[in-house]
């Protein structure tokens, strides 16, 4: 990729020749579907390796059919190019599969602040049950008096809820 723009890079300075690390730059890319979170906070940024010539970034999809993967890939490449990393290779890793347990504490806080209820701990394997799962507290008023409207929301990773206490609808990131 764009190798004619590659800068001279010493072994200690990384592929960009700058002091900012490739990991720090990649970690600032926002998730296109949940733009309150960075891909690092969402836990889909798995690894960043800078061998002084090339930066290799590993990401993992949240769901098999995640339509945001190519946008995320393009964002990472563009962001790294902007700060001087010319040779960027973004890889998809499927294993181990993404789990909502990888959403960081900061990520959970930001979700809540944006009115999206963060996931509880993921149980593996998910037991088959016909009974209601534990209640999801409303991210606005904190009430546990909430109703699931639909298991599936505007993105694959969220479900739709409404709060019967404050009457606000909200999204919830499903634990997987």
């Amino acid at each position: 990729m764009v190798s004619e723009h590659r800068r001279a890079a010493g072994p200690s300075s990384g592929a960009s020749g700058s002091t900012v690390s490739a990991r720090e730059v990649a970690a600032t890319v926002l998730d296109p579907e949940l733009p309150v979170l960075t891909i690092a906070e969402l836990g889909i940024l798995r690894d960043v390796h800078d061998d002084g010539q090339r930066v290799t970034v590993d990401i993992t999809p949240t769901y098999s059919g995640c339509p945001a993967m190519s946008a995320i890939r393009a964002d990472i490449t563009a962001r790294l190019h902007d700060v001087g990393f010319a040779d960027v290779h973004v890889r998809t890793v499927l294993h181990p599969p993404w789990t909502t347990d990888w959403i960081t504490a900061d990520g959970r806080r930001k979700l809540e602040e944006a009115g999206i209820a963060p996931p509880g701990p993921a149980v593996r394997p998910v037991p088959f049950t016909l009974s209601r799962r534990s209640p999801v507290p409303c991210p606005r008023c904190g009430s546990t008096d909430t109703l699931k409207v639909s298991r599936f929301g505007p993105t694959p990773c969220t479900a739709l809820y409404k709060c019967t206490a404050c009457a606000e609808p909200f999204e919830h990131v499903k634990a997987i």
Binding site: Y63, S64, A74, R91, L94, H95, V126, F128, L130, F152
Partner: protein
Amino acid sequence: MTAYDAIVELNDHTHWAFGTGFDDPLAGIDTSVLPGTDTAEQCLALGDDALIMSHRLAEWCTNAPELEDEVALANLALDLLGQARLLLSRAAQARANGETEDALAYLRAEHEFRNVRLVELPRGDFAHEMARLLVFSTWRLALFERLVDAPDPVLSAIAAKGVKELTYHQEYAAAWTVRLGDGTDFSHHRMAAALDAVWPYVDELFDSGEIRDGFDAAIRQVLEAATLAVPHVPGAARVAGKAGRDGVHTEAMGYLLAEMQSVARAHPGAAW
């Protein structure tokens, strides 16, 4: 440069089937070890199941009883389409003849598809879709739970990811089955009729000697809660003992492919 620019300007994967900017779903995944023939056949069959089921589920867009269920069914279709792309890509790699997931999805003839007949049945009413989804997701979940230990690392990874998705699909179908079965007399009869219509295609799912105990137990649990009985109906007729996995399909399959493949066949190789 914005992400949008990056997609539309720099990406040279202009390919009609994916739309601009979509990559090989296995891009970056270590695929240096090619799967054996058995794994290739398995990926093709499981990929075809997901592709055709996804197509039927997508038909519910603008047809579902409520907006929330339309969103749900589209989400399910998207998950399965994602699984199909991964599995068909893996199958194409194994065939090593230059074919891609596109060619497998859009340029094969009916007898070359290996999906079970359950997924190709025409869209019925909502109860019929829930009955089909309950059977399909319960069966596929049991299958994928075992495939997590598959010798092929790519198939194993696809299965591990799929298990999480299918768990939600099964839960969704089970909840609706209970709600309709244990609802009014009218909804109870509609749900029972739907199960009767789907059940003849269940035996075929276990043709390859897969273990059925887990499937039966989960279905029983749901149907008991739904005040419904496991249907006692004869299996659907086969042609000289052959069914979906052998490439022998029902009449509905040809119509489905005619629609699904029409753009690809009318404009071969077109980019957009």
